[in-house]
Amino acid sequence: MTFPEAVGIVAVHPQRGGPATAKGECLERVAPAKQKARPRPEAPTAQEKFLLFRVGEEIYGLGLRGLREVLLPDGVTLFSSPPHQVCVALEHRGRKIPVIRMSALFEASPAGIPPTARVLLTQGQARPLGLLVDEILEMAEVDPARVGPLPALATLLSPSCFRGLFTRQDHIILLVNEDGLGGLDEVVQFYATGS
């Protein structure tokens, strides 16, 4: 089987303005492919990467796309804020960034901050947003088709805070949605008032 109409993909030489080979030779056109048919490899499934972290006793995941940095919680004004306060401030490179204390949001664990705690600096609603988690665990690659919706009855939090669920090694993992978290009243108020 051949593909008579197929034309090879070429790179455009940036200086000559024409197509070029990898060696820089300018080509007008790549000849239509005349080759023996090869079995088409199955298209690889688009996997999405997530950083898995622990809050309380459960495992959650955050998409890597928006993740900028992982920080020690040194600069977070945790110690001067009430333990139940969901949104606290992080001094980061001269800016104040809202940090969601996930254990407080999820009502998941005692007020104490474990030594393994970290701040995941990401983007929520196109603005910097920190998530204070109890521990970072590992990376996971997930086929988005395997992510199921979070049942409505499962939480009293806004459904927009979660992207869904997937199962890994018999554990159900909840994926948080940074845009939904960035839309929480506490975060919106932080940006409105600056604290």
Binding site: E58, F106, E107, G148, P151, A152, L153, T155, I172
Partner: protein
């Protein structure tokens, strides 16, 4: 299957089938048409800030379902059995399927309409709004619960001993 004293011989068009189960020693039932499966208990994954009667989520055949403790929904204090049964109920709330933990499944009952009584204002402390009817099974009352109202109302319920 043992016949109950509410069941008359023969099947009529006005007959309803219900699944009877126990919670805190009392007999309850749900519409059998709503029951998709009966599962052994599996420990759920705890979800954050869940309603007090929701235990978390479980997975069944690739779907994620909320797991509701009927004991907690009915305000029953104290631990339940080690291995409760889980009824998968369809069409009883916002979620397509909900897992409902009960102490023990007993049997399927056929309830002729003439044996099903309208509930009094309260049965075992449960308001009539949450009840579809009351019948007699084995000389004891069986309360046919309205699953949808039970899972969509925020009103607390306290089951009386």
């Amino acid at each position: 299957m043992a016949r109950t004293d509410t069941v008359s011989p023969g099947v009529t068009l006005d007959e309803a089938s219900v699944l009877m189960f126990l919670v805190a020693g009392k007999q309850f039932a749900v519409d059998l048409n709503r029951v998709q499966h009966i599962l052994d208990y599996q420990a759920p994954t705890r979800t954050p800030r869940r309603p007090p009667y929701v235990e978390g989520v479980i997975q069944h055949k690739g779907r994620y379902l909320p797991l509701v403790s009927l004991r907690k929904r009915l305000g029953v204090e104290g631990p339940g059995p080690e291995n409760p049964a889980v009824l998968l109920l369809a069409g009883v709330g916002q979620d397509p399927v909900v897992g409902l933990m009960v102490d023990q499944v007993v049997r399927v009952l056929s309830l002729p309409a003439d044996k099903l009584l309208a509930p009094p204002p309260r049965v075992f402390g449960i308001r009539a709004e949450f009840i579809r009817g009351v019948a007699n099974a084995g000389g004891r009352p069986v309360v046919w619960l309205d699953g949808t109202k039970l899972l969509t109302s925020a009103e607390p319920i306290t089951l009386l001993a």
